[in-house]
């Protein structure tokens, strides 16, 4: 979570509200913030750290591991309508890549701003060409986009 806290400004600029969730109590969240995360991130964790000690929220999102009593690394991008646009779930030993989360948020924001008239091809980065799905594009994607490298 320190990786997200460190890059929080970038998410703020994109108008994204961040919530972290684990089965630890909010009291432990405070201790973790005060004693460790403040040493990694200036000013400590800037977003709300939620407590889900009974795993109720984790179960609703399919990330609660009953055997271990913990929550898996689940990351959900929720749009302004409250609809989940993306999810990624990893087992504990592998961390997420923050830059990919930002890229996906930017892509979903672009698609939303275009009211669904634009789509982003594989590997799209902000500033690169987008696709405009329609009759003319059918069978012609190769003219506007190629899977480089």
């Amino acid at each position: 979570m320190s990786a997200v806290a460190d890059k929080y400004k970038q998410l703020q600029q994109l108008g994204v509200e961040v919530f972290s969730v684990s089965v630890d109590s909010h009291f432990v969240h405070k201790m973790w913030n005060d004693h460790e995360l403040t040493k990694m991130v200036d000013g400590g964790v800037p977003f709300h750290m939620l407590s889900d000690q009974a795993g109720n929220i984790g179960r609703a999102y399919g990330v609660y591991d009953e055997g271990q009593g913990i929550e898996l690394r689940g990351r959900f991008i929720i749009d302004p309508d409250g609809v989940i646009q993306a999810m990624e779930v990893l087992t504990p030993p592998v961390g997420r890549k923050f830059a990919e989360t930002v890229r996906q948020i930017q892509a979903f924001q672009l698609v939303r701003a275009s009211k669904g008239t634009e789509a982003t091809p594989a590997g799209w980065e902000p500033g690169e060409a987008v696709l405009k799905p329609g009759p003319d594009l059918v069978g012609n994607v190769w003219k506007v986009w190629k899977p480089h490298e």
Partner: protein, 85 residues
Amino acid sequence: MDEKPQGCARITGAVLGEERAEAPPVTQPVQGKGKEERMTARVGGKAPDFTAPAYHRGAFTNVQLSKSFGKWILLCFYPGDFTFV
């Protein structure tokens, strides 16, 4: 995100819109649904609403997910505080 007095009870997160036998929901359920219709997250579907106690910049608060609808939200679960990754 209301500030609430902090007791010693082991309060926890609660999914809204789900009927529960024990522990009254922290707020009014958003919709009354039976257990068999329990909300499960999937892409393209509505994010299950919930409330949860939280820590934020020196204060203890209570967060309800749907109060942030209207903005983009990044919701991140992780295995536990003081773990290594």
